[in-house]
Symmetry: C2
Subunit: 344 residues, 2 copies
């Protein structure tokens, strides 16, 4: 039986710059009841991802934003509590965008079954979920890694970056990570098998990056923007590919960096080096999901792809954890434990 | 028989900003003699193209630059005066990078036969040459025009832009040109059949561009940079493609525009609209040349692709004409008549 109260975290105000506690509010409402074709879910794990910063901004992005007073958007691994759909049974583990709340009623078509036999169910939010598929499809379709090439990826210990680098290694690339803490860099090299990992806070980061990329850069996986992009651009080889799936370094920015305007520098590099800079989101390649799940879960079972999760207990701690995510304080895929995992 | 003197225009100094007369010098040398496997050519038509500005700069580009004292690089349609190669006969019309001079000795492998039956031989420098092939291959491989899409191209009356727009029309696109003079705009619409053409010097150019692109922009052909790029970027639809083959607006720049730094704006558009920005040069698609020649010459014969040439008489006038090209003073493909055309 569900509790009678549904805790929800709603958007209290659009953050200006870095989100503050006061931009979020805890609300309580009755647990909703499903109609025919609907399913009542209770969240087990809530995923926190950088893209959510764009959702709580009034600026136009590729998806509809969260309005003031609405529950914050978020993917969860949930358990079916009550089903009025033939597609789901009580007790099923499902993935869906149920948001920052304990309970949600979803249309059956908005949910996907998570197979607990494949891997721990929390991985449906990480290496076997949206972040892992972002890495897999962005590399396959835009990055196009080739044996002997050099790939640079920032936020290398994060959910997307760690998968990008490990897949690139499988494809035969020299793989260079960038992270913001020395212990993350050590993990990326020692546990994940990257060839090197640099701390972007180091003095002379750009010079160090050049020294670990003696053959230049063929793929720069852009998920942060800012100083890392500026350091990589001069190292790019002809025909380098730059898949762009995130710009976390800009996400809290309230104004543009001071001048000069570097756009002509970027465009000149695009022209003279014939770079390909291409934005994407994972759902652009939705038809490749089955292939991704099969290939990636195989690599995980074989020990060729590893992952790290950073669990935070309690829905009420989601705003603080999210603020930390935007500052790079998490170490691995950031997941909120909303309720106990029944498969463990 | 050749004259005994070979007039050459050499680089006297690297231009700072816009090239000046004093950056060029007229030199005279004996007409060279071919060795075995070589061919002596006399220039008939010399092509002037924006890319040459990069060649006379000390900055690194995709091709080796011209050194001080060297003859300026340039493609010509020439006639074979003396051949010591079995591949060429005296009188043949050839294309090659013989440079800004009357005579040149070339390796046979550096020359290609121009067929005077196909079209006027000067078109081997324009619509049937590098500019036309730039348009054809850049659209086919990067722009990928689809029926009903909207394409914007700047320098629309120029050699590349006029071909881009006409090919896009053939592919079923709504085609919007941008040029710098009202008479060029009129030509682009009335003679070339574009749907509209705007003068980028008009007040409220950006607003006018938006009004003639009611369904947004799916392809922006980037050959100028600067203000046109800034006006088009907000109009780009999701999945828009931006082939980058030139940045003439920046080519004389000696310093970057003042701030703020707009790179985050560009990258955010790339991400949220999933834009593809890709640089290329025509020779990246060299293996498509035969297809291009066949298709494009067919369109010309059918009257579906038109072209305009802007002839200037005399090798000695090349520097002045080139300076005008960088300021948009030419109207159509700019060609220097170096010596009489024997096919006319």
């Amino acid at each position: 039986m569900p509790d009678s109260i549904n805790r929800q975290i709603v958007l209290a105000a659009y953050p200006e710059g870095a989100p503050a506690d006061s931009d979020f509010a805890l609300a309580e409402s009755p647990v909703p009841e499903p109609d025919d074709g609907q399913v009542l879910c209770r969240a087990i794990y809530l995923s926190l991802d950088p893209y959510m910063r764009g959702r709580i901004s009034p600026a136009k992005s590729y998806a509809k934003g969260v309005a003031i007073g609405e529950v914050i958007t978020g993917g969860t691994v949930s358990q079916v509590i009550e089903s009025k759909s033939p597609d789901f049974a009580e007790g099923d583990i499902v993935f869906g965008y149920t948001g920052w709340q304990d309970y949600a009623v979803m249309e059956a078509g908005q949910l996907k079954i998570v197979d607990p036999q494949l891997a721990p169910i929390s991985t449906a939010l990480g290496v076997l979920g949206m972040p892992g598929m972002t890495a897999y499809t962005g590399l396959a379709n835009i990055g196009q890694p080739k044996e002997g090439e050099t790939l640079v990826v920032a936020a290398a210990s994060g959910a997307v970056g760690s998968a990008v680098g490990q897949i690139a290694k499988i494809k035969g690339c020299r793989t260079i990570g960038v992270a913001g803490e020395d212990d993350k860099c050590a993990f990326v090299v020692e546990e994940l098998g990257f060839d090197a990992c640099l701390n972007h806070k180091d003095a002379d980061f750009a010079g160090k990056l050049a020294s670990v990329c003696p053959d230049g850069v063929d793929i720069y996986w852009e998920n942060v923007g800012g100083a890392v992009f500026e350091a990589v651009l001069p190292l790019c080889n002809e025909f380098a590919r730059i898949p762009v799936c995130g710009l976390i370094a800009h996400s809290n920015a309230t104004e543009l960096p001071s001048g000069p305007n570097q756009v002509p520098v970027v465009m000149r590099s695009v022209l003279t080096k014939r770079l390909r800079i291409q934005g994407f989101i994972v759902w652009d390649f939705a038809d490749q999901e089955a292939e991704f799940i099969e290939t990636m879960s195989g690599w995980i079972r074989e020990g060729r792809v590893k992952y790290r999760e950073d669990f935070v207990d309690g829905l009420e701690n989601a705003p603080g954890a999210f603020r930390g995510l935007l500052q790079g304080k998490n170490f691995g895929k950031l997941v909120i434990r909303v309720s106990p995992d029944p498969t463990r």
